[in-house]
Each structure stands twice: as structure tokens, then as C-alpha cells.
Symmetry: C2
Subunit: 88 residues, 2 copies
């Protein structure tokens, strides 16, 4: 089973990396960028039978290790349940 | 318009951060993680009229600034075309 975990700074938390990238883009002429925030994406390949159970385990991993609960939010996505091997 | 840009290490490139996180998860008892890679996700709010044009501009930003073409791949996703304000 393949899954993605997004870890982002919470809304109210300043994102200096995002601000720096936005300014650099403006300097290159990309004035259309109104807001930009940088987060992490973890792409996992899991040995798990049930998507519901896998999602629960992944959320537990986020709370215990992958995200900082004070400053970050997380979101778990099951990308491929591992039952359709020929899909992209 | 909202868009997401994924920037990941290319397949053949070692990901020491991913390996470290995988080992830490194993240490906490999460033996089901077969593979784990860490990438970046940039979430952007754009002033752009056309999704096709916006995608072209974003791919250009990736080539010029956001991704390292030697070690990284990128992927652009238009999340919300800005015409359906009530959808999640």
C-alpha cells in the first residue's frame, strides 16, 4: 500500500522558508504568486492489509514522530491500496 | 487559484533523511514501513486566470528555481481553479 503524509506549518505560524522562496520568485518576475508555504511530504510504501487500519497507524506515527504538534498539522492520504497493480 | 508543487529526490538518489525517519519508526515499533522518502511540497496561491497557463508558469518556476534538475523531480498539481469557492 502506498501512502502520502503531508506535514505543514499551522496557519498562524510564520514560514520564513516560504517567504524567502516567494521573494526569490518575485525577483525572477513571477509576480502572480500571492502566497507560498513550504511543507514536507513523506511517501511511504507500507505492508498493511486494510486502508482504515493503515491510516490509523500513520496518524499515530505523525503524532509520535513525524509532526511537531505545537507548530505543525498533518494529513494522511492513502494513494494506492495495493490491489490494483497496473494503475499509475 | 491554488496549486501544489511536489519536489522529490529522483529514484536513484539516496535519501538519508528518509532512511533516518524509517529507522526511527522501526525503533518505535512500526515494522510495516517498507520504504519511506521525504520530499517538499510547496502550496501556492496564484493570481492566474487559466489553469493551463498557470501550470506552464509553475513548471518554469520549478526548472528555474524550485527544483534541482540534477537530483530532483517535480510535479505540479492545480488544486483549485478558483471558480468553485464552496468546494473543499
Amino acid at each position: 500500500m502506498r501512502a502520502r503524509v503531508f506535514v505543514r506549518l499551522k496557519r498562524g505560524i510564520l514560514d520564513p522558508q516560504g517567504t524567502a522562496v516567494k521573494r526569490a520568485l518575485e525577483g525572477l518576475g513571477y509576480q502572480e504568486v500571492r502566497e507560498l508555504r513550504v511543507g514536507k511530504v513523506l511517501e511511504l510504501e507500507l505492508e498493511a492489509a486494510e486502508p482504515v487500519q493503515a491510516r490509523g497507524r500513520l496518524e499515530e506515527m505523525c503524532r509520535r514522530l513525524l509532526a511537531n504538534p505545537v507548530t505543525e498539522d498533518f494529513q494522511v492520504e492513502i494513494v494506492d491500496e495495493g490491489r490494483r497493480p497496473n494503475l499509475p
